[in-house]
């Protein structure tokens, strides 16, 4: 009976959606989750400032990165608050940005009106500037009250300092520390098409779209579409999604997603021992991230290739210092040049790139375990349990007997409490052992030849390029990408109730030849992407434990 009722509601939803512009063929019913409140991530903050005020505004600050949830900073942002020291830094940054924007040389490009006198308040001109900038920062038009509050600040300061522009500067700095700016708080409203149900407001829909596709705030056109109610129709959403996918900003959007999914933000604190690896430097760390992101954007956006090729492609981009570590010749004056590894080269695919190899190693040596764990957790979405607390390492410790990582780990796996997890990590990571902790190719470790054989889910192979082939053919890479991208967009950890929709997305992704822009379009145009349920009224403790158990369930998804 319950199943029938669910089907009926699903049919009604689909029919209603169809009436609004057409239900995606075969899209299963989704329940949605409560609207989220997510603190802007560092990249979102930077992108918004750049998009509104241009790239000449320097954003110099240290941001707090939220803890990853479900492998994504963008979901962790849903739990991030603002500690006092963080607010202090936001406040300093806000004042620095506002001062730059209102600097004499720049102000005319942002303040389109001219005050009657620069020495006194000018309500109309302040209203115009603060209203237009506020709409972009707050991601909705300011109400009369909201705008008047901003103008009052500007007037107070302008009067006190006898300086109209000082008023704008202080008011702008205040806007940049309000929760309306710092938190993306989605709002829901009763859905007129479905009595008793809720829908995201048009502006919240606009913001979901722009953070998914551009990782920035909605632009003027998207806010206009929201204002006209177009985002409550399938045709209106389609128009905007087409426009946004065709915009150069899609590159930023896709980069941001893969930076988050692959954990590339970690290069900022990557440390290597420079006695063991003299070629390492902070600029190498910057370059390895850029190399991977350039490779992915080129392959997935510009060439619109099959996603699975990221594990096998020999095409990449090379900087001078990375060429040295990769031991390949490049001749160019440019910072980055396209580069194709030869068929005989051991490198092919993202798992053999320096970013992956360096990030998942120790400062002074490689780590098959860390690399295997990263393949499982990041590329296959298969969490590995934490190590047991009471391991006895006695069998593992003799470097005279165990020269290579393989020998050390073989000894390690003799311990039954370790073996369970290590056998799902080490055989993958050992196939990358021809690359040291810096990602340099090698054939021996400690004088002993390296054996780079291993296996992934029953498929045996030798070396990093062959690992790429195994990943290319492993269905988990597809479900992993689809699940991550959907979660990234909606901002919550998927639960069992999302399973049918995720399966549907995977089928559509396959039908489209595993093209990422097509997957983005599919998600952005789906009903599921905008679906919300009413916020729960349960006490906080219950909610927390429910979230944890949902997370645990997901680990077995």
């Amino acid at each position: 009976m319950k199943a029938i009722r669910t089907c009926f509601i699903g049919a009604v939803l689909c029919l209603t959606a169809f009436a609004l512009g057409g239900c995606g063929p075969g899209e299963p019913e989704t329940h949605g989750s409560p609207p989220t409140i997510r603190r802007l991530t560092e990249s979102q903050y930077r992108n918004i400032i750049r998009d509104i005020f241009g790239s000449s505004i320097k954003v110099i600050a240290r941001f707090d990165t939220p803890e990853r949830e479900y492998g994504l900073v963008s979901i962790g942002a849903g739990k991030a608050d603002v500690a006092p020291s963080a607010l202090e830094r936001y406040d300093n940054l806000a004042r620095s940005i506002a001062a730059q924007v209102i600097e004499e040389k720049r102000r005319d490009s942002f303040v389109s009106c001219r005050p009657q006198s620069v020495n006194m308040p000018d309500e109309a001109c302040a209203k115009q500037f603060l209203g237009s900038v506020g709409r972009l920062l707050y991601r909705h038009p300011l109400s009369e009250d909201e705008l008047q509050a901003e103008v009052n600040v500007a007037n107070t300061v302008a009067t006190s300092r006898s300086d109209f522009y000082a008023g704008l500067e202080f008011a702008l700095s205040g806007m940049l520390v309000t929760p309306t700016f710092l938190f993306n708080a989605e709002a829901a409203e009763p859905d007129p098409q479905r009595p008793g149900m809720e829908r995201l407001t048009a502006y919240s829909k606009a913001t979901r779209l722009s953070f998914l596709l551009w990782n920035s705030a909605p632009d003027d056109a998207l806010l206009n579409a929201a204002e006209k109610g177009e985002l409550h129709t399938r045709a209106g959403i389609s128009r905007q999604v087409d426009r946004m996918l065709a915009s150069p900003a899609i590159e930023t959007g896709v980069r941001s997603f893969f930076e988050d999914m692959l954990g590339l933000d970690a290069v900022e604190k990557l440390a290597k021992d420079t006695i063991i690896y003299p070629a390492f430097s902070a600029s190498v760390a910057t370059d390895i991230k850029e190399q991977t992101l350039r490779t992915l954007i080129d392959l997935l956006v510009f060439r619109n290739e099959d996603y699975r090729n990221i594990f096998t492609s020999r095409h990449t981009f090379m900087s001078r210092q990375l060429a040295m570590i990769n031991r390949v010749p490049i001749e160019t004056e440019k910072k980055w040049v396209p580069f194709e590894f030869a068929e005989s080269d051991p490198r092919a695919g993202v798992q053999t790139q320096l970013s992956f190899l360096q990030l998942h190693s120790h400062p002074g040596k490689s780590s098959p375990t860390l690399r295997g764990k990263a393949i499982r957790e990041i590329l296959l979405c298969q969490p590995v349990p934490p190590p047991p607390a009471d391991v006895n390492f006695d069998t593992f410790n003799d470097p005279i007997v165990a020269k290579t990582a393989r020998e050390r780990l073989t000894a390690h796996r003799a311990n039954p409490s370790c073996a369970g997890c290590h056998k799902v990590m080490d055989p993958i990571g050992l196939t990358l052992e021809n690359f040291d902790g810096l990602g340099q190719f090698r054939t021996a470790e400690g004088g002993a030849p390296i054996d780079a054989s291993g296996e992934l889910d029953g498929i045996e192979f030798v070396g990093g390029a062959a690992l790429g082939k195994a990943l290319h053919d492993n269905p988990a890479t597809i479900s992993c990408l689809v699940t991550r991208l959907y979660s990234y967009g909606v901002g919550h950890i998927p639960t069992r109730r999302d399973r049918a929709f995720i399966t549907y997305l995977q089928e559509r992704f396959a039908a489209e030849g595993y093209r990422v822009p097509a997957l983005l379009r599919q998600i952005a145009q789906s009903d599921a992407f905008f679906a919300v349920s009413k916020p729960s009224r349960k006490p906080l403790e219950e909610l927390k434990s429910a979230a944890n158990s949902a997370h645990e369930q997901e680990q077995g998804l």
């Binding site: 409140i37 991030a80 500690a83 006092p84 607010l87 202090e88 205040g174 440390a271 934490p386 729960s536």
Partner: protein, 450 residues
Amino acid sequence: MTFLIPSKPTRRSILRGTLGGAAVSVALPFLDCFLDSRGAAIAATGAPVPVRFGTWFWGLGQTPGRAISNKMGAGIEFLDECKALIPHRDQLNYFSNFNTPLDGKSSLVHFTGWVAARTGEAPGHDRDVRLPTLDVLIGDHVGANSRFRSIDISCTGNPKDTYSFRSAGAPNTAEVSPIALYTRVFGSEFVDPNKGDFKPDPNIMLRQSVLSAVSEKSKKFVSSLGAEDKARIDQYFTSIRQLEERLALQLKKPPPNEACSVPIAPGEGPIGTEVGVVQSNHKLMTDLLVLAVACNQTRMFNMAYSDSTSSLRMPGNTQTHHNITHEEPTDPKLGYQVQSSRFATWSMEAFAYFVDAFSKMREGDGSLLDNTLIFANSDTSYARIHLNDNIPMMTAGKAGGRIKTGIHVDGGGNPITRVGFTAMQVMGLPLESWGTGSLRTSKAISEIIA
């Protein structure tokens, strides 16, 4: 009309703010007569010298049998790994045999121990810091009249190596570079208390009006949220309030303070986990911190010398401190892990430097350390096997005469939370009990309370 100026200024005359009928706008340096009956200095404003609180953290504990002898009570007997602390043993307490009961929760390696010691609750899962750490509770209690509610420092180069949380979503991320720390504390907004020409920056008042509007907007923002979402961003409002309080403070002339001197800006130096770099940055940032505390820029601080899964490393060595604790064989002759013990020794040398820096700073007739309570702890006792019981903990300083020192306290298997609970009571928090489950305690350690 003539006024008699008393031959000795009385406390009452200082409190009234008058001397011979003239308003005292420039307060006086410390004098012996400003000491109260317990010997605590009275600042020229008439308020007692503040008692400060801080924490010091190091990763991966100590080697059993190599840090401290089994002799309990007065007269701490430090062994090899703690040799550097011997000159300070009368200024310290060392706590042994306090346990971390988990009530069936998993032992999360390098996490459970410090979370239990600092929040009173064993975490349920990785990254779960549900309750505020004790320093935050103390900071909210004692920190109101200083510029920064806390100064948080990590010497590993990673701002996320912090052991101070308001909630899981609001960690107090750390300063990691000496120059950034200097700029934050002694940069353009620093007001030197010993300069006569105090003029409040008129922009401060304008910033107050901006923040007041932000505060109003925030109230409207939050009124549109459900209860759960309100709780979600609760710390934001604390943060706004604290920033407003700070601006209000910046409008007042700070009283002269002879302990306060302005340091020279440090140069740009390397940052990272190489042990020499960590030691050097620890010294530089300790020196800055001591001056920040002496200049009343903060009354609460957190220093992390190393991270709980210590990533410290020797140049040219393929192993980090953490790898070494697990993978280094026990020396058959010596009976312990030699390299691992060396890292533990360096940690205690760093702590000795920290304590020494506070004790060298004169304040009133004593030292800054006399008016401070420092709580030091690690994440584990014997790192090789991730032991959570008998995690090494110490206190340093006399907390303005409220605590006795020089004692090796035997916890007798009591919960680890008794140390943190005692520290909070000493700092004046009106707490009846602290901690959850078997970690709950209502018993302070009377042995060390003065």
